[in-house]
Amino acid sequence: MTIEVLLGDEAVARGAIDAGISGAFSYPGTPATEIFEYVERYNKKANSIHAVWSANEKVAFEEALGMSYMGKRALTSMKHVGLNVAADPFMNSAITGVGGGLVIALGDDPGQHSSQNEQDSRVFARFALVFCFEPSNQQEAYDLTRLAYETSEKFELPVLMRLVTRLAHSRAGVTLADPKKQNEIYTDIDWKKWNLLPAVSRVKYKTLTETIPKMHDFSDECKFNKLEINDKKLGVIVSGIAYNYFMEVFETLETKPSYLKISTYPEPLKKIQKLYDTVDEIMIIEEGYPMLEDSLRGLLNNGPKKILGRHTGHIPRTGELNPDFVYKALTGKEKKPIVSIDMKLPGRPPALCKGCPHADTYKALNAAKEMVKGQVEVFSDIGCYTLGALPPYNAIKSCVDMGASISMCKGAADAGLKYPVAVIGDSTFGHSGMTPLIGAAQEGTSMTVMILDNLTTAMTGGQHSLTTGHPLIKVLEGLGVEREHIKVIEPLPKNHDENAKIMKEEMEYEGLSVIIADRECVQTLKKSLSKKKKEAE
């Protein structure tokens, strides 16, 4: 029996490896980054799995889908908002169905530790009419991932694995099972079923809807969904990681409520019905949206039994669950801290590192803004450089989604803003920044795009970036940006005045300019220097 210490993320990755995947496809994003990274590390020795970062989540998803069509098992992983980028192939893969097992591992971020929103991927799975597996702990993350591949091939549907930050980034010992061999590549392919011409997809969509009752039956029979009838006053439905918080409190209760633990969706309907029929009132504890709660209440909430949860104030409407909220929901009592202090603690938010190139870029940008006569607004994007919105820089304004800086900047220019500026990182530019730049180049929009090229995907820990260094200039030329308005600067304190001057000039140029601020991330530089030093020894 092998026990390995694994993060929830890593348990999913290892489950996929032991289920015999032939490829892992991903774009970095907290809290899902470590799923792919585990496969990448494992593969350094094994060298049997295709594991290279993709340009963005849509690309990653489609690469995984292509592999699945060839009969092989594939894993695609991303953070929850990454599925918005990959929503098109996701929704449609439910209708085409899959060949080799296809699992989409998602890191949801309730409490928004490092995300713009706390969208709940269970809702997305329901939208697409596919399975969603939601493990409660690391062992289940491993076991359910292996089950997900079997289920995906049995139903010929993709399976979404939903993790939340707290499980993704929590470690425990996980008992491993025997690994499976990889599938053979298909030699005879029925291409018709994978072509969504309306005439085909109408039939396939109908078939998909007819499968839903069987998916509910699957959940009713699945051992990871557990109904326990105890006291008949209260019945609690708990989903995913909420099960742990519930059990933490459950063990201390004198009167044990009945409960149903759910780990697979579509919901186990017969089990829900049985609990509903047995108890007087139902409480629902779920991490994320009140999805089950909404379903059980219905729009009119006029069923015969009370449904308690986030809508009734028993659980806070937003944010991450914890054992203390669940304690209060079940006992009506609040846990009071035993010791207290009489001082206000200042927050300690994350900040740009000492010596970070972005800091020098922002100082120069702020100086350039002062020199330009007229309204300058800076649209930003997603990366370490988003921290430039905070003091002492206060250099950027917006942060919405990957690549949005350039398209929003263009929209602002179209609205008549005199000096619109977009700030985007090299990896984010490769993710979603190139497409909006094509239109801006063709229209000759008067705006300035700054690509902060630090040679890496820094915020998630320094993953490979596809659009960095010299090739970036060729890409920009290819997209139609005039060569004389592609400027490269080195953001260093000694270049401050010159850099500010270049920024001012390009802002004042009535057309599209791109300034590349080119200097390596101090974190990756530190790592590569110490690696070199070690090699020299």
Binding site: R166, N244, P323, Y327, I338, V339, L345, P346, R348, L387
Partner: protein, 194 residues
Amino acid sequence: MKKDLILAGVGGQGILSIAFVIDNAVLDKGWKFRQAEVHGMAQRGGAVQSHLRYSDKNIWSDLVPVGSADVVLAVEPLESLRYIDCLSEDGMMIVSSTPYINIPDYPEMDEIISNIKKIPKHVLIDSEELAKEAGSSRAQNIVMLGASSKWLGIEEELLKKYITMAFERKGEAIVQMNHKAFDLGRDAAEKYKV
């Protein structure tokens, strides 16, 4: 046997190395553990913490409930106070007195220390000085692990076995330095009078 720990510090101070040592020592004993940590943006100089729970029985929640931590182990004094709600009635607060100042509104040290001293069971350790004595100020995390070792319910040899494992790819000198850091921390906690 059940212990709830909070490890606290600032991103980059090495609380995950402390967690690595305890996780593996616990697993070596055949116990169960859960250890929640912080990844991503917050690691860039922000406040970070790890909830570490272990037991010879099953553990449910990855998070330590309010009022149940047996030990709050902080590599930084201000950060120790952030998790005071978690401390149990007999809870130990084991704190480095070396501040990490990267925010403009960092409070006066006297105020922080006087609040730490209000906690019935606490140990204050000059981790920077001891780490330098061991060989590098980077070893403050292991000084603090040594300082807490008496309250962890895990044999010293076992903790040291995994300190070796945590640092062996950096060479024998670094391993020995961290062993020394552990010893200095342990002895300093022994001498500390509340």
